[in-house]
């Protein structure tokens, strides 16, 4: 999604703090999706993610005067969401902690990709088919948490590397390493499953220079 307008946010925050509380609805709306999906990536449960998303938003409102404007508003919001999500995860005693920070970037990760020359491109229309979405979601949900978070912010919510790093409290270098491994894992997992969706024609996406 497009990055929210910083000037709009700054004005909104100033006015909310001055008493125009209703503006909080507009301030938080552009962040809703990112909050939910970050929490879903941490908690892997829709109901929990929604519940913690609501708690996060209330916390954001209650702490709005503490936002200093030295990061993007959404980054600040997502760091609160992440803390809330990890807090909830710790409380869920019967859930195996899916390696919260247990995995490090030091693991050597030479992934061999799926080598399938028959799968070049997925047409956008294929997404109308529900199973494609399901295959993708399952693959992403199956990633270790540290990779899932990064993919979620960078590839699903299309945040830039810097903002993703700030929201997750890790370095930009770590974001890049994790992103690379996550994409490699997804490619290896998905390419064999998705080749059935491939059309015959070939077309390049984006600008390979």
């Amino acid at each position: 999604m497009a990055p929210p307008d910083a000037q709009f946010e700054a004005d909104c925050i100033r006015r909310i703090l001055a008493g125009e509380k209703q503006l909080f609805h507009d301030l938080i709306r552009p962040c809703e999706r990112s909050i939910y999906f970050l929490l879903f990536s941490i908690l892997k449960n829709e109901a929990e993610a929604e519940d913690v998303a609501q708690d996060t938003v209330i916390k954001v409102f209650q702490n709005l005067d503490k936002f200093r404007g030295d990061s993007q508003f959404r980054t600040w919001v997502l760091s609160i969401a992440r803390n809330e999500g990890l807090g909830r995860l710790r409380k869920i005693s019967n859930r195996r902690e899916d390696s919260i920070d247990a995995e490090t970037d030091e693991q050597s990760g030479d992934f061999t990709p799926a080598i399938l020359t028959s799968w070049r491109e997925i047409p956008a229309e294929a997404l109308e088919r529900k199973e494609l979405g399901n295959i993708l979601r399952r693959a992403i949900e199956g990633l270790p948490e540290i990779y899932r978070n990064v993919v979620l912010l960078r590839d699903i919510e299309e945040m830039d590397i810097r903002e993703s790093a700030a929201a997750l409290g890790i370095s930009e270098a770590s974001v890049k390493v994790r992103l690379h491994r996550a994409r490699a894992l997804l490619q290896r997992n998905l390419a064999p499953q998705l080749k059935g969706f491939a059309p015959v024609k070939r077309r390049w996406f984006g600008g390979r220079q």
């Binding site: 030479d110 399938l116 020359t117 799968w119 590839d155 994409r183 390419a191």
Partner: protein
């Protein structure tokens, strides 16, 4: 310097991000011109990235936004919140 397939795979994500230096980029491009396998790996990785960004793949639960704003509204209606 000629680079091999493994070398290309190592940089695929950065290549998609346009985050490799021009010299390496040129080497990768030269490799891709002749290597069908790496071209396919690049394409499929890029496809995965493109698919993930499609809003239809990840949709908010039905009614999520309405419930969220109802909860916000209840919070906004609270009198004398010491934090605001």
């Amino acid at each position: 310097m000629r680079i091999d397939c493994k070398h290309v795979w190592k940089h695929i994500s950065a290549y998609i991000e346009n985050d490799v230096d021009p010299q390496l980029r040129a080497e990768i491009d030269r490799h891709l011109e002749t290597c069908e396998i790496c071209s396919a790996v690049l394409d499929s990785t890029r496809n995965v990235v493109i698919l993930m960004a499609d809003d239809r793949v990840f949709e908010l639960p039905a009614g999520f936004s309405e419930r969220l704003h109802a909860r916000i509204e209840r919070e906004l209606q609270k009198p004398n919140d010491p934090n605001t």
